[in-house]
Subunit: 497 residues, 2 copies
Amino acid sequence: MATGGAPFDALSSLDPETFAGESRAVINFLADYYRDVDTYPVQPQDLPGCLRALLPDAPPENGEPIDVILEEVRTHIVPALTHWQSPKFFGYFPMNASTAGFAGEMLSAGLNIVPFMRVASPAATELESAVVDWMGKLMGLPDRFLFSGGGGGGVLHGSTCEAVVCTLAAARDRALSRLGHEGILRLVVYASDQSHCTFQKGARIVGITRSNFRVIPTSASSGYGLTSDSVRDAVEADVASGLVPLYLCATVGTTGLGAVDPVRDLGELARRHSMWLHVDAAYAGSALICPEFQHHIDGAELADSVSMNPHKWFLTNMDCCCLWVASPAALTSALSTNPEYLSNVTDGGAGAGVVDYKDWQIALSRPFRAMKLWVVLRRYGGAGMRAYVRRHVEMAKWFEQELKADGRFEVVAPTRFSLVTFRLRPGHEGDGDAVDGLNRRLLVAMNASGRAFMTHFVVDGKFVIRMAVGGAMTEMRHVQDTWELVREKAEEVGALP
Amino acid sequence: MATGGAPFDALSSLDPETFAGESRAVINFLADYYRDVDTYPVQPQDLPGCLRALLPDAPPENGEPIDVILEEVRTHIVPALTHWQSPKFFGYFPMNASTAGFAGEMLSAGLNIVPFMRVASPAATELESAVVDWMGKLMGLPDRFLFSGGGGGGVLHGSTCEAVVCTLAAARDRALSRLGHEGILRLVVYASDQSHCTFQKGARIVGITRSNFRVIPTSASSGYGLTSDSVRDAVEADVASGLVPLYLCATVGTTGLGAVDPVRDLGELARRHSMWLHVDAAYAGSALICPEFQHHIDGAELADSVSMNPHKWFLTNMDCCCLWVASPAALTSALSTNPEYLSNVTDGGAGAGVVDYKDWQIALSRPFRAMKLWVVLRRYGGAGMRAYVRRHVEMAKWFEQELKADGRFEVVAPTRFSLVTFRLRPGHEGDGDAVDGLNRRLLVAMNASGRAFMTHFVVDGKFVIRMAVGGAMTEMRHVQDTWELVREKAEEVGALP
């Protein structure tokens, strides 16, 4: 029996019949999971260590059948998962799975090639170069970031964090080529109080002094976007003290509130001070495929790099991050290595113009991510993806309207994409702490119900609930049910009527 | 028709029937690929740009059926791939796929959770902590690297390069807490001329001055392993010039030749100079599950960190790297972040002792890699994996014996695991350059035949051919056929009879 407990044979691990039989068992398992996932509590209510206690201290000496393993996934692991694919998951940001994203991941994992250099699998490098150009065009990126445009190009990383480390290293080495290595002590990185923590972490990783990371405050008056005045003040103060502005982050769609920094203003400022400008559109980059959102990256031609994550809201299973740079040479001069065991003995004449992606990223080894994004784009098409994004934006707008129509709630930041940020308002009797406690209890009560999952943020000292719409299976009825849940739990925790 | 061209519906991308139907089509495609892969030339003989020319400049506006997409993979992409899963692929290092590794990857990609923190999916964090302990025990690692041992623990990264960057950042920040940030200019990293280039790249990424990376020479007399004398000389010279030894890399199974550095000697030296010792067993770590190989990591209790890649020779599809550290606090103090949007509002009392893996790696987002390694260990068991590794070691030994029995060849470094390094000997007439040219032509001729794929290395100025056995589908007959190929092509390129 194909899915049974045949004893392990070292030479049959890729036997086509065994492969097909056991893989079909997993496919059936996952189809059942998708059928049932909206009946599970979105977040499990377990205690730390509960699964660990069920696991033996050592692996089995003898192999076990796939059916036994799948049954254990069903009974022990699934109940202790947070279900990111539940249509009622509205926490953090969406992390889309889809049939096409999964198909692409299967092809990548099944072929299991390692395209670190073009010669290590030519089709993979060419597909990657093509597919990042496709994505860039869909998003309306300036030609300078495209291979087919003005000398730039893109690469697929696993995460924005990796893209940030690589661009920081590129910017740093470009600056140190003028300053000498001692200059590393004087380099300064700028972000807003709404920027993702990965910029702070990335700056530490590449050796920037912790005290040279500037967190520029934002406020409600600019919708929590940076203002170029505030950045300029910080930059000029640093220059006056002998420091060297290195890198500025502009975010289109911040994690906490979905805020947007003014790319053109920041780009002009960055140019004046020879800073590297990175545009982080990890989440909202997916919306940029719709023309009505493309004004949010107006001025991107002034940036040095742009990134977005198809694994968030673009139906591309984990993990996949697009990074585009205007100057590939800046990236590769920081990240290239040429050991003998990778030099190409059979292809000597073809070096010029060849993209070797190992020099565009941290790692040498890399999966065939281009396959995944290519299958998604082929299967769903530009029109399909725009329709997909717009449906979520409509759902979020509906939710925002309901909040506004109900006098007990306030919307904290404008809903620009599909993230709604809200809270119960202070009543005439309540002080700030009491209202924060009320909102905190509201979030806990909703998540404990298992009927939805949201996360929170704190801005201007206020506790804010985040409802991030964008799950692959999320339909209008799930958003409507969640609005019912919000009202029900608001009453339970004692919101004023 | 499940696999047909139904127009894309934004809300049906995870419809269970569509998912199952289209996924089965991909499984059938891959089963056919495994059935046929040994009939394909291992490396394609295309020219750069050949696939790119077939790809349109933009993605389709309307979605296309999965069958059309798979047919294009078959006709356009597969012929331009290097087939890493071919049983005749002997280049670089093996990158194993397997039915169980694929099943685990499918479960990970299908559930598509993001276990950056324990609370973001408790089962995933607990499974990861358990499975890295399992691997550590199989390899005979000292207890201090295990969660269940003496306060250490492990994490699954995507690549050794990432593990190296993280441990370098941890070592650097530990040192800078004494020295102040200016000390970064004085830190020195040590590796051998056989160490992987990732150490040099990683040191640059974390801000170590390029001139403070020491490449210690090795020689045939120590089998191309480091000697602690040579490292000590370099360290003492640096200390005498006011520099600060930071980090030393010991490799068990180098990329070029499979050499082994003396872990205990280097560990004692590292301790004396307060250096971080990392043991890189990326490839040979798989062999360490067999007791007969465990003497190669004798002294590992003196190391600060150890890494190995199950995605190489352990039937775990890309990507998966185990990193173990003796002091998780050293790692997390360099890599932790605690933004408000990740603070845990529902689980306030459970912080102590909870592992949040985002603080053990570069990225915030991360796939559920533990599922993959867990399925491999369950499906094949410790005994199955040892049998698997030993078969490849036997094949490599046979190949080495044949080379030795044929007077025209020399084996360059001892075959300790499953990597054989060899070359045609100089004839009485030939000088070094001529012999190098002969070996180079031999490698090109073998690879051009499509009947096998190997790569090369250069040591002591000599061109060396690398035959890395370890493919999941490689059987003895493939190694025997490859020996025939070597002899045939050696005659063709003019080796002396």
